[in-house]
Amino acid sequence: MKKEQIFIKNVNKCFSSGEPDELYALDLTNLSIIKGEFFCILGLSGCGKTTLLNIMAGFERPTNGKVLIEGKEVLGPNHKYVTIFQESGLFSWRTVLDNVRFGLEIDGIEHERSIEIAMKYIRLVGLEGFETKYSNELSGGMKQRVALARALAVDPEIIFMDEPFSALDTLTRINMQEEVKRIWKETGKTIIFVTHDIDEAIYLGDKIAVMTPRPGKINTIFNVILGETRNKLDKEFLEIKKQIYKELGLSL
């Protein structure tokens, strides 16, 4: 049975400047996300997609409305839903292993056990052998893998990803997209993935919510009914791409 996990209820956000015509960055009607879904939020820069993600993840409060996760209102950040940012946000004074262990340490998991769990996820993201390295010894792609392992280690229900690969070079980005897809399949987590890259969204997402700016709105949600393996040159792939271009008001 498909279970609704995140429900966004008439959320809006304004950055008030005290002026009467307050600037609404975001104005959403109802939106729900199913458990285990790979949900992409696609939009051009400045459309409010990061604000929406921050509200869902509890880093910001909406001006009106609320976000429910598992039926409970989101009032602040919580390690049941972990966010991965454009930069890895790793702790430079900790090794890879200790970075991945961080959340477990905070949860008070016993030391030996936490190492076991951390190693499991270090292996999952393909960084075995790098446990004792510090973040300044890692490449951009490796840092994001550590961030991913650190997030997975606390066994969150949802992983939010805010343009996680936009700071990487093209080849690494393609590589990381595959990795995320594989890990998503292996772990079955719900992933909310914010991006401005149309190909990336179609390649990864079950659903793509296309946002338009001022105020940030979602008008259309595309169901991507492509198979397991997606080819960016397939006819169906290009068809969806065409529709999204149209939705964004771009010419192909």
Partner: protein, 565 residues
């Protein structure tokens, strides 16, 4: 010890320039060897002379060297002369390789790399090396003349005879051999086996020098071309063109021979060109140990030079500055403005310092001052770092306290001395209190700023994983801010050392400040300045110690912070 005489044959081509540069740099400095380059103009004569043993070794074409060894001459290949470095020169009216059909092309020798490369070039262009062109052998230095006279249409040879043809507008370079085969080998240094057996150290010394020369040519082509002009009887401009045109036509920085390269050359000569040759075991023929040793030596040498340079910059120059100061001071006090009793000379002061240490009480004063600084500084750190962490991470608390802090901070620590004495009497306590007051504010402000400058993303991530309160402070904020806090501590310690002297001048009975005041009461200016010098020296040592600590903490991937956690 008798030096070994080594005669090494070469031809006047840029391929052999390493020998010229090596000799120019090192021939007079060699410890084990008397190196004599012997110039030839014909490959045939060079190889005959090597066969008879009149020369001990030679720079020679690789296929010719293999052929010599195959025919029983006991030699080993121990180093490359260069890589790449040859050119195909044609009459000005020839524009394409295909146009060479039916033409006369000169090569330096039947068993030459040039012949092999020409074979490759022609085959790739669909021409038959044996049938479509006429090959003749001419000595390299005669080729240009032959082209001028019209006896040949083209020649393939080592530089600088391509650059020379270009400079004299006799012919043009149709292609360089680096375009036929990138990084190819050509001339190699071979030595007779008995020489290698008897003069191992001498050979190693020569190879070290040749490898260094190769590096030198690569780094300083202009300088090398001047040496080359003499060595090769050419104009400097011609040699420079050969060394730098097309990003350098001759490679001199990689002289390590690889067995596979020569196996390939041997196979090509026999299997493709069908030249008569008894194949030899190349791995027995090529000896890399000398070159490997030479490159290890070169790396060490470069490291040493770098260190020497740094040592000069970091040690010698500062010492010069100090010396200049002392000389100026000496002159000033000898001819100077003030009476000798008011401004003693550096020598007087040196004597005074000696007197102080012989008498011995200065040690007690130094320890007293250091103790006061240490105690006040540590107390201030223990207090100010936690408070700074709190203030830096809580906006509201910072807003509340900031004006108060800025107000108290501006009161000079010196102004606290009278009340310190009233409150704590005489002894160490008032001085420690003054240092405490001195140190608190810089540490507090450095810590606050360090916390405020932490990447917000780090805090955001930590909060996401549920870190709050003490956990957040001790596991994230403190370690993230720590390297910058240490910088603050270093600066503060310097200030504390400045202030302690002032504090000791008022109401203390020991310490360096007291010592200076005491000396003034006896009108001993030499002792006063001696005390000042000692203060300066100790301040310098403290600063260097803290800098070292700071660098270590920041370099060790902030592992100091890890330790704190």
């Amino acid at each position: 010890m008798q030096k070994s005489l080594l005669k090494i044959g070469f031809m006047p081509i840029t391929d052999h320039l390493v020998l010229g540069v090596s000799c120019e740099h090192d021939c007079r400095k060699f410890k084990n060897v008397d190196l004599q380059p012997v110039q030839f103009h014909s490959w045939q004569i060079l190889s005959d002379t090597l066969t008879t043993g009149e020369i001990d070794g030679a720079f020679i074409l690789a296929p010719l060297a293999i052929q010599l060894n195959a025919s029983g001459v006991k030699i080993k290949l121990i180093c490359l002369g260069h890589r790449e470095g040859s050119v195909l020169v044609v009459r000005p009216d020839i524009n394409k390789v295909a146009e060479l059909k039916g033409k006369i092309i000169a090569i330096p020798h039947t068993y030459s790399t040039q012949a092999l490369l020409l074979y490759t070039l022609l085959t790739d262009a669909g021409l038959d090396y044996k049938k479509d062109i006429q090959i003749i052998e001419i000595d390299p230095s005669d080729m240009l003349d032959a082209l001028k006279k019209g006896n040949i249409d083209s020649y393939i040879v080592a530089e600088p005879f391509g650059s020379q043809a270009e400079e004299e507008f006799v012919g043009k370079v149709l292609t360089t051999t680096q375009l036929i085969k990138k990084h190819h080998t050509c001339c190699v240094l071979v030595m007779r086996e008995e020489v290698l057996d008897q003069h191992h150290d001498a050979v190693q010394e020569v190879i070290n020098s040749i490898v260094e020369a190769g590096e030198f040519i690569y780094k300083h082509p202009k300088h090398a071309s001047r040496i080359g002009a003499q060595f090769l009887d050419q104009k400097p401009a011609t040699v420079l063109r050969a060394l730098t045109a097309q990003g350098g036509r001759v490679i001199s920085w990689d002289l390590l021979p690889l067995v596979d390269e020569f196996t390939e050359i041997q196979n090509d000569v026999v299997d493709k060109m069908k030249l008569p040759l008894q194949k030899i075991q190349i791995s027995n023929f090529v000896m890399t140990k000398y070159v490997e040793h030479a490159y290890a030596n070169l790396v060490a040498l470069i490291g040493k030079k770098e260190k020497k340079k740094q040592a000069i910059e970091k040690i010698v120059f500062p010492i010069i500055i100090f010396l200049l100061f002392f000389v100026g001071w000496q002159l000033f006090s000898t001819f100077g403005l003030f009476d000798r009793s008011l401004l003693p000379s550096p020598i007087d002061v040196a004597k005074a310092i000696k007197e102080l240490f012989i008498e011995g009480h200065i040690v007690v004063d130094i320890l007293a001052s250091l103790w006061r600084v240490f105690a006040g500084f540590v107390l201030a750190t223990l207090f100010a770092v936690p408070v700074g962490l709190l203030l830096g991470s809580r906006k509201k608390i910072e807003y509340a306290f900031e004006p108060f802090i800025q107000t108290v901070r501006t009161i000079s620590p010196i102004a606290w001395i009278p009340v310190a004495i009233l409150w704590f009497g005489i002894g160490d306590q008032p001085a420690i209190f003054i240092i405490f007051i001195t140190s608190i504010f810089p540490i507090l402000i450095a810590t606050m700023n360090a916390v405020k400058n932490i990447d917000p993303l780090i805090i955001k991530s930590a909060v996401n994983f549920g870190a709050r309160g003490f956990n957040l402070m001790s596991k994230v904020i403190l370690p993230a801010a720590f390297p910058y806090i240490v910088t603050g501590l270093r600066v503060t310690l310097g200030i504390a050392w400045v202030i302690v002297v002032a504090a000791e001048m008022v109401g203390m009975q020991s310490g360096l400040g007291f010592m200076i005041l005491d000396a003034r009461n006896f009108l001993r200016t030499d002792l006063i300045i001696a005390g000042m010098v000692i203060i300066g020296c100790i301040g310098f040592i403290l600063d260097r110690f803290m800098t070292l600590l700071e660098k270590k903490i920041q370099k060790n991937r902030l592992s100091g912070a890890r330790y704190l956690e």
